[in-house]
Structures are given as structure tokens and as C-alpha cells.
């Protein structure tokens, strides 16, 4: 098959006088474009085209059944000045991100440090900490529902045995529902942890040996070698965590359905409700654009502010 494709690529019009090097280069270029053509088509339709179209739809009122009606900035005006639920969703999602990202980065780094030790059966431990990340989000949500179940769940069972007379109602309580989701998110931090682990394995051991010769203790080695050497991974995980947690959906959809009293109404859950339950697709597109801009601004802000503190290479 490879030979067939290779020989087809030779342009029929190529003249024998053309220099060999040039035609090889041109041939390689042609093949390269052919190889990436599925991506180009996919990008044009599903990313670039969709993004532009999404912007256009956000100026319309449409349920996809009756004809779409142009309303200018109507959706954005309603969102910013009339829709309390939008502000609630923005607040909930921001608080969630604020809780989840530092927690996942710090705990992920600590566990990665632990899993980087030369210890017997380390494969088993790595599996233990990564395993929850391969379980389906819905199944994970079910597990947490049962774990925090206020009447029969394990958490309140333990709390009762410890003598706590009035334990929280967790996802059924307006003040505890969001912290419950944040705690639950820690469980699935495997990928970030793995990136830290890979980063740790890339730090040359000689650096630690040299530091030991200079009399640096464990803590000093951690702050002066490990953290600076891992700064690209810390940045990567922070940004990916930020992007991911602003898009949180499954946990709030399955565990709390956004409740109680919208205490866990996240941006994407609200977008889903507007678009697919109340069939206001223009409004949902406007919400998506605002979400996109928020993520973009925070990502660029994180990238800029980290410029001086991230160390590449070495």
C-alpha cells in the first residue's frame, strides 16, 4: 500500500529536467499536506468554522425549530444585566476552580514525590493512586454519592463514631455541597500527578548529589532543585487544571444536579440547561463564548505572571 501511495504522489507534469533535490522536497511537502489534510478539514469544520458560527448564533434567538431571530447583543445584555443564574454559575465555577486547582497541584506534587521513591512494589502504589482516574465520571459520581450519603454513608458513619452529633448533610446542604464536589475532584487527579512523576524522573540525580556535598538538607533540596526544575510541569498542570475545572460538568450534573438551591450550578451545567433543556441555543452559544473568554483571560494571565518564575531546560 505504501508503494502505491508513494508512486501516485509523483506529479505527472514534472519534467525530467527538474533538479532531483527540488522535486524530492516538493514531493515531501505534497505528502505532508496530504497526511495532515484530515486534520485541516476537521479543524476548518469542527474548530474554526464552529467557533465563528458559534459567535454568529450568539446574536440570535433560536430553538432550531422555528426560524432564528436576530437580536443583536440581546443575549449578552440579558446575561450580564438580568440573569442572576449566570452570575451564580460564574461564582460557583470560580470558587470551585479556586478550591480545586491549588489542591490538585499541591497534593499531586506531594504524591508524585512519594511515588518517585525507590520503594519495593512501587508499581502497586502508583496503580493505587492512578486507578480512580480511569473510572468513568458517572461511576465516580455514584461512588461519592454513596460515600457522603448523610444517613448511611461511610463519612458520617465515621463522624458519628467519633462523637460528632450533628454531621454535615454534604451534597444536600447548601453550604457543604460545593466543598463536597471539590473533595471528590481530588480523587481523579491522576493525570496531573503522572506529569509531575515524569518531570521528577527527568531531574538529573547529580544535581541532588552536588547539593548534598554542599550540605543542603532535604527541604533545601526540595525548594532549590525540585520546585524550580518542576516549574514547567507546575505551570502546565495549573493551566490544564484551570481549563478543566471551568468546564466541570459530570460531578455537578450527577451528584447534585446543580442544587441545592443552585449552590453547585456550574457554567457548563447552566449552558447545558439553557441549550438543551430550554432550547435557547443562541443564549447557550453566548454563554459558551463568555466561558471561553474567561478561560482565555485566566490562561494568558497565568502564562504572563509565570514568565519570570518558570525555568525551562537545564
Amino acid at each position: 500500500m505504501s508503494n502505491a501511495i508513494d508512486s501516485v504522489q509523483l506529479p505527472a507534469t514534472s519534467t525530467p529536467t527538474r533538479r532531483k533535490g527540488l522535486s524530492l522536497r516538493a514531493r515531501e511537502e505534497l505528502i505532508a499536506y496530504l497526511l495532515i489534510s484530515p486534520w485541516i478539514i476537521g479543524f476548518l469544520i469542527f474548530t474554526a468554522g464552529a467557533l465563528v458560527f458559534s459567535f454568529v448564533i450568539s446574536f440570535y434567538n433560536t430553538d432550531l425549530l422555528s426560524p432564528a431571530k436576530f437580536i443583536g447583543l440581546g443575549n449578552y445584555h440579558e446575561m450580564l444585566f438580568e440573569d442572576e443564574l449566570f452570575w451564580q454559575a460564574l461564582k460557583v465555577t470560580s470558587l470551585y476552580t479556586l478550591g480545586v486547582v491549588p489542591l490538585q497541584v499541591i497534593l499531586g506534587l506531594l504524591i508524585a514525590l512519594l511515588l518517585n521513591q525507590k520503594v519495593k512494589g512501587i508499581g502497586v502504589w502508583r496503580t493505587v493512586f492512578y486507578l480512580p482516574s480511569v473510572v468513568s465520571g458517572v461511576a465516580v459520581a455514584m461512588i461519592w454519592i454513596w460515600f457522603f450519603q448523610p444517613d448511611f454513608g461511610l463519612v458520617n458513619g465515621v463522624l458519628a463514631q467519633l462523637g460528632v452529633s450533628d454531621p454535615p448533610r454534604w451534597m444536600f446542604s447548601e453550604s457543604w455541597a460545593l466543598p463536597t464536589l471539590i473533595i471528590a475532584s481530588i480523587w481523579s487527579m491522576g493525570p496531573g500527578m503522572l506529569i509531575f512523576l515524569a518531570g521528577l524522573q527527568g531531574i538529573p540525580l547529580e544535581m541532588y548529589e552536588a547539593a548534598q556535598l554542599d550540605g543542603a538538607g532535604t527541604w533545601r533540596q526540595f525548594t532549590s532543585i525540585t520546585v524550580p526544575m518542576l516549574s514547567p510541569q507546575i505551570l502546565f498542570n495549573s493551566i490544564m487544571g484551570l481549563i478543566g475545572s471551568y468546564q466541570v460538568f459530570t460531578a455537578s450534573f450527577v451528584i447534585t444536579s446543580g442544587g441545592p438551591n443552585n449552590a453547585t450550578l456550574t457554567m457548563v451545567l447552566y449552558l447545558y440547561q439553557r441549550g438543551f433543556l430550554t432550547a435557547r441555543f443562541g443564549y447557550a452559544a453566548a454563554l459558551a463564548w463568555v466561558l471561553f473568554l474567561i478561560i482565555l483571560v485566566f490562561t494568558l494571565f497565568t502564562l504572563r505572571s509565570s514568565r519570570s518564575s518558570v525555568f525551562y531546560g537545564g
Binding site: 484530515p38 479543524f43 458560527f53 448564533i57 461511576a139 455514584m142
Partner: protein, 294 residues
């Protein structure tokens, strides 16, 4: 002493040389692993225990860990109440079709970005990276409208077709990083023998990419098997449901039957857990090799 040496060589050395600092360090590492691991496994163990309990046993307070007998009907009853077997077939079909799509479409793209020279390469690759950061929701509504106009809603097509157009930017990125590490001398040798870029891809790059493909397969398989948001949006009739959708349906109908719900969650998680367990050594090794972090 030999027992300690069998358990941990460092600790043994510390004991022999009376290096108490090192010994304490080793003990602390094991304690932290044990405690952390236990804490991490607690929710899963709690699910496991409930999956075999009777309804009455699941609702005792204070809770008990071990069920008095194994209640296997928790695993069979849901298959009678709902077409769970169909949900599994659908999920398996989607997972296989999509994994194939991702591998077939992303490999050539990543190869071209990693090892071929063409005009606009850097610019186009920046676009790939930008797609990685783009939230799915930004393009959700128009893509949904597009598939509605095509009449594809409530079929598997909206879930499968985009996969064959290399829409998984992260996978392209991962593959490109790995392809770049393969020595270019091998390409030159192949070129001298008259091989073109496609021959190089098939004869040199792919055979050397086994660890990468292992990692990619796990990422894609796990992602597809567990997919929830997209099936939720596109699949509306029950005969098309995936396991995740089935679980959610089951929860809304039988939310008090936590024991059966846990049994179903266990069954839904089993395939990915088993695959990860079998491949974890290669997976973790491959992650380091692919240099996700660079």
C-alpha cells in the same frame, strides 16, 4: 536484619550503619504510602462492600464493612430491569470505532508535524496547541446544529465521525513529541534505499512506537469508554444509550437502591480498571518516554 533487607534495602543499610535519620525517613515514606493509599482506596472499597450487600444491610447505621453474604442479584437484576447488555454493546462499539478513528487519523498528522518539512508547519502546529486549550463548549452549539441539520442526532455518527478527522489535539501533541525523539539517521538510511515519507512512517516510525501507542490506546480507550457529555447530548433513545448514560438513568429511577447502583458502577468501571492494571507498567514507562512534560 535479613527480614529488613528483604523488605527495604535502604532501611537495612540505615540499621547497619546506625543512620537513624535515614531509617526514620524510610519508615515515614512507607507510612505515608500506606496511609495515603488506604485513604485513596476508601471510596472504592466502600463501593465494593455495598455492591454485595442487601438493601437492608446497606442501610444500617452505623455502617458495617463486610456483608453477611454475597448478594449476587445486585449484579443481575439491573440487566432485567433495563437493557444494560445493549448499553455495553453500544459502549464497546463506540469505543472500538473511535479508538480506531483516533489512531488512524492522528498518527499521520503527528508524523507530518514531527518529521516532514512543509511550509506553514510551525503556524499550523500552533493551531493544534490552541485547540488543546479551547473548551469543548465553545464549539458545542454550532456542531450540534450542524449534526441536527444532517439528521444525525440520536445516531452514533456525531460521536464517531469527528474522530476520523484528527480532532484530538492532545493525542496529536503526544504523538508528535514522541516521533521527534526517534533518530533522523534512520530516515536517511531509508531514503537512500529509495523510501518515501510513507515508507518511513510504516517501516521505521511505527515499529519503534510501541510504547507510545500503548499510552495512546489507554488514553483513548479510557476516554471513550467513560464518555458522558457527548453521548448525553446526542443520544436520546434508550436503545442507543452507553453505560454512562445507563448508569445515570438507573440512578434517577432507583436512587434508593444504593447496593445495586454500586454493583452497576463496579461493572461499568471493570473494563478500564482491568486494562489499566494489565498495562500499568508499560503505561507509566511510556508516559516518561513520551515526555508529556516537555
Amino acid at each position: 536484619m535479613t527480614i529488613v533487607a528483604n523488605l527495604d534495602r535502604e532501611a537495612d543499610r540505615a540499621l547497619r550503619t546506625k543512620n537513624w535519620g535515614l531509617l526514620t525517613g524510610r519508615i515515614l515514606i512507607y507510612l505515608a504510602l500506606l496511609l495515603g493509599g488506604l485513604l485513596f482506596m476508601l471510596p472504592a472499597l466502600w463501593m465494593l462492600s455495598a455492591a454485595f450487600k442487601t438493601m437492608a444491610e446497606a442501610q444500617t447505621f452505623p455502617p458495617v464493612w463486610l456483608p453477611s453474604h454475597l448478594e449476587w442479584s445486585n449484579f443481575t437484576q439491573p440487566f432485567i430491569d433495563l437493557p444494560f447488555a445493549q448499553f455495553y454493546r453500544n459502549t464497546l462499539f463506540l469505543t472500538v470505532a473511535n479508538s480506531l478513528g483516533v489512531l488512524l487519523s492522528c498518527t499521520p498528522v503527528a508524523y507530518a508535524f514531527a518529521r516532514l518539512n512543509f511550509r506553514g508547519r510551525e503556524f499550523l502546529f500552533v493551531l493544534v496547541l490552541a485547540t488543546m486549550m479551547l473548551p469543548d463548549q465553545a464549539t458545542l452549539i454550532p456542531v450540534y446544529v450542524f449534526f441536527t441539520k444532517l439528521g444525525w442526532v440520536n445516531t452514533f455518527l456525531p460521536l464517531i465521525v469527528p474522530r476520523y478527522f484528527a480532532t484530538d489535539a492532545f493525542i496529536i501533541f503526544l504523538m508528535r513529541q514522541f516521533f521527534k525523539t526517534i533518530p533522523f539517521d534512520l530516515d536517511d538510511a531509508c531514503k537512500i534505499d529509495g523510501g518515501g515519507p510513507i515508507t518511513i512512517l510504516l517501516r521505521i516510525i511505527l515499529p519503534l512506537s510501541a510504547p507510545l501507542m500503548g499510552v495512546v490506546m489507554i488514553f483513548v480507550f479510557v476516554g471513550e469508554w467513560n464518555a458522558f457529555f457527548w453521548p448525553l447530548i446526542y443520544l436520546s433513545s434508550m436503545e442507543n444509550y452507553t453505560i454512562s448514560l445507563g448508569l445515570r438513568l438507573f440512578e434517577t429511577r432507583y436512587f434508593v437502591q444504593m447496593n445495586t447502583l454500586m454493583a452497576m458502577s463496579l461493572l461499568a468501571s471493570l473494563p478500564t480498571v482491568v486494562i489499566f492494571f494489565l498495562a500499568q507498567r508499560q503505561f507509566l514507562k511510556g508516559i516518561v518516554l513520551t515526555g508529556v512534560n516537555r
